[in-house]
Amino acid sequence: MSERIGEIIEVYTTRFLAQADGLENPPHFGSFVKAESQGMAIYGLVYNVHETSIDPNRRAVAFGIERTELFKRQPQIAEFLKIEFEAAIIGFNDAGYIRAYLPPFPPRIHSFIYPCEKQEVLDLTEDLEFIRSINALPGLPVEELAAASIRLACSERGNDRAFLVRAGQEIAQLLKEEYEKARSIIRRISD
């Protein structure tokens, strides 16, 4: 099991919010993560990363000093900051089988979050069904998210062009009625 990257602090059927471990290695936008909960792995796609003050009533203020320099001079400031990230639930592992649809229940609060293994990314992106799920969720930057995740899945496959074409076709099919949206995603993955 790879190193833990966060812990869930809020859940919904379709997404969860987690707090990252530390400030140094937040998960990438469009990366695949999994929550270990109730003996099941629930997969999510990171669509929002958010760094903020730990006290909602105290906003961070500008110091005019470069970040690493600031943390060196005043290490306590880092203690007042946290990184949160939101992930859309795109599937789960059911007795060894990866299912690209919503699990019966979301992961529980305080479950730990891990980055997905390479094989899991390959399995999850095999049929690109997850793009359909994220397109259905309101308020997501679908175009950017789809493009980022496809690029990632492609690089996990050693930049396999055939996969890229297949993914593009899936996008074109899925967003048949929204040609401009499909077009902008395809443009983002083509170069």
């Binding site: 074409v165 593009g168 076709q169 048949k176 009625e177 040609y179 083509s190």
Partner: protein, 545 residues
């Protein structure tokens, strides 16, 4: 040889009436799919044999047309999803998926279910439809882009009048020669060919300017050459079998009427002819009139109450007959009886015109002989029926420039029109060869059994050849796309329309004369003659200034 046909698409829509529509698979190159191909749709229980009639570009979304994807990647991605190619195919025949020997393809009366695989026809499919080559089912070409024989069912072919259409250079003469060659070889019917352009007898010059062997060379003694010009240099090497002469008495006014354009006859002239025939007798007037001195005309005008000017004009027109030495007062032998003798002997006749290959000579000879032959055939068939015995041998009369005889204005009266309409009632059918089918009467065209259609430039001609056929829209597209030596075959002798690349003539020659050795004999004979000449005249080259 069981080769699995490649799937090229899936059926998505259509009807029996307007044809089926299939979506082309994304991995198939649309540029490799061309109209006229034979297509098989694999239904659940049946195979549907279809003709590809159109390929079109389609888009599922208007937006993609307004903002076309840029770059190869985007085009590749949208292909098959937002853009696709649609194949329009016309179902023609249907047969069981695993046909027994008794199952013959029959006309399609239903359509295959949604998303049935659409494949190109395999060699096996083609031979299932068109049968295996044989003496009465010879191969005359292969479907375009395929190397499988398409065979013509000669038994059915001989039961109707047929036609070969195509503009000059389309290869129709070569194909006609092949069809005739196979007909002769198979002995399904006796052939009488009115060979206006000297193409079906001895050698024929092909497009490349090289002499191809023709029927006489290939089939030897089975073919007899009849000519009206036995003195022509043409017959120096190969003697004509019979020298045709026609007496004036055999020329009817109707024959002259048919050649009115060539003779320059006016309506007044035709009426004058009828007056003359009334008074002097139908079989005597022409000889008498042509013999008469112009001084005697006033007497005739007085006797017959005809217009003098018309009479003079008529004489000038009919004087042209004198330039045709084979139409004469007295003849030694009756040509028609001689033809019948040859027919009874099972010999096939090619009529040639030598140097008299004018339309006038052609129209007169073909019409006069065919009319008398038809009468003879009607009599013989009727008496054979009365006696309950076999009638005369089936006869196929081949005429070139068929529109001259089957013009809408004359087709109802000419013998050719009658033969075309009465089909094989009297064991006599026509094979029309023409480059101007729009000049042929509609009623005759609709009676044509099998049509072999080559490239036709004119829209009117294309419409004319389709007279009386189903699925005209489809066939029209196919005709428009024909190249030289490609033909659309449709009608009675074919189970379904098919576009073919005509068989190679060399292949035909070697097939047809196999065993007869006639070409080799002829080469040997010519060589002997040349050697003889060399001995007599020496080897000196003769130089003409």
């Amino acid at each position: 040889m069981k080769d699995k046909a490649q799937e090229i698409g899936k059926l998505i829509a259509g009807s029996l009436l307007s044809g089926l529509e299939a979506k082309l698979n994304e991995d198939i190159n649309v540029e490799g799919i061309s109209v006229g191909r034979l297509i098989v749709v694999d239904g659940r229980e049946n195979k549907f044999f279809c003709l590809l009639k159109d390929v079109s570009l389609e888009a599922t979304n208007e937006d993609i047309l307004l903002n076309p994807p840029s770059g190869d990647f985007a085009r590749q991605v949208h292909a098959g999803v937002n853009t696709f190619y649609k194949l329009s195919v016309q179902p023609m025949l249907i047969t069981a998926q695993n046909p027994t020997d008794l199952d013959r393809p029959r006309p399609s009366t239903t359509v295959p279910p949604h998303f049935s695989p659409v494949c190109e026809a395999s060699a096996e499919d083609v031979s299932l439809i068109f049968g295996a080559p044989g003496i009465t089912n010879p191969e005359i070409g292969s479907p375009i882009f395929m190397e499988v024989p398409v065979c013509l069912n000669l038994e059915r072919f001989c039961k109707r009048s047929n036609a070969i259409f195509g503009k000059s250079g389309s290869g129709k003469s070569v194909l006609a020669r092949m069809v005739l060659g196979y007909l002769i070889k198979s002995d399904m019917a006796i052939n009488l060919v009115f060979d206006m352009h000297n193409e079906y007898g001895w050698s024929a010059t092909n497009e490349g300017g090289i002499d191809d062997p023709s029927l006489k060379q290939l089939l030897g003694s089975k073919v007899a050459i009849f000519t009206v010009d036995s003195n022509s240099p043409l017959y120096r090497k190969i003697r004509a079998d019979y020298d045709v002469q026609i007496p004036y008495g055999a020329v009817e006014i109707a024959d002259l009427e048919l050649a009115a354009g060539e003779l320059g006859l006016t309506q007044a002239g035709i009426e004058t002819m009828y007056r003359l025939a009334d008074k002097w007798g139908e079989d005597k007037w022409l000889a008498k009139f042509l013999d008469m001195d112009t001084d005697e005309f006033p007497q005739v005008v007085e006797d017959l109450k005809v217009n003098e000017q018309a009479l003079n004009k008529l004489r000038r027109c009919l004087d042209r007959l004198k330039k045709l030495p084979f139409i004469r007062k007295e003849v030694a032998d009756d040509t028609v009886n001689r033809i019948m003798d040859f027919i009874q002997d099972g010999k096939h006749i090619v009529f040639q015109f030598g140097r008299y290959n004018s339309m006038l000579a052609y129209i007169l000879v073909a019409n006069i002989l065919t009319r008398r032959l038809h009468k003879l055939y009607v009599d013989k068939t009727d008496s054979a029926r009365a006696d309950g015995v076999d009638g005369p041998k089936p006869l196929v009369v081949t005429i070139e420039e068929a529109h001259k005889f089957l013009d809408p204005q004359v087709a109802r009266q000419t013998t050719f029109g009658t033969i075309a309409r009465e089909m094989r009632k009297y064991n006599m059918v026509l094979l029309l060869i023409d480059q101007r089918p729009s000049g042929i009467d509609d009623e005759v065209l609709s009676q044509v059994g099998t049509r072999i259609i080559g490239d036709l430039g004119d829209e009117r001609d294309i419409n004319a050849v389709l007279t009386g056929l189903p699925n005209q829209g489809t066939l029209k597209v196919l005709i428009n796309n024909l190249e030289p030596r490609q033909f659309l075959l449709t009608g009675f002798a074919l189970p379904m329309p098919v576009v073919i690349d005509a068989k190679d003539y060399g292949k035909f020659c070697s097939e047809i004369s196999l065993g007869s050795g006639i070409i080799l004999d002829e080469i040997e004979r010519r060589k002997t003659v040349d050697e003889l000449k060399a001995q007599v005249y020496g080897d000196d080259q003769i130089i003409f200034d």
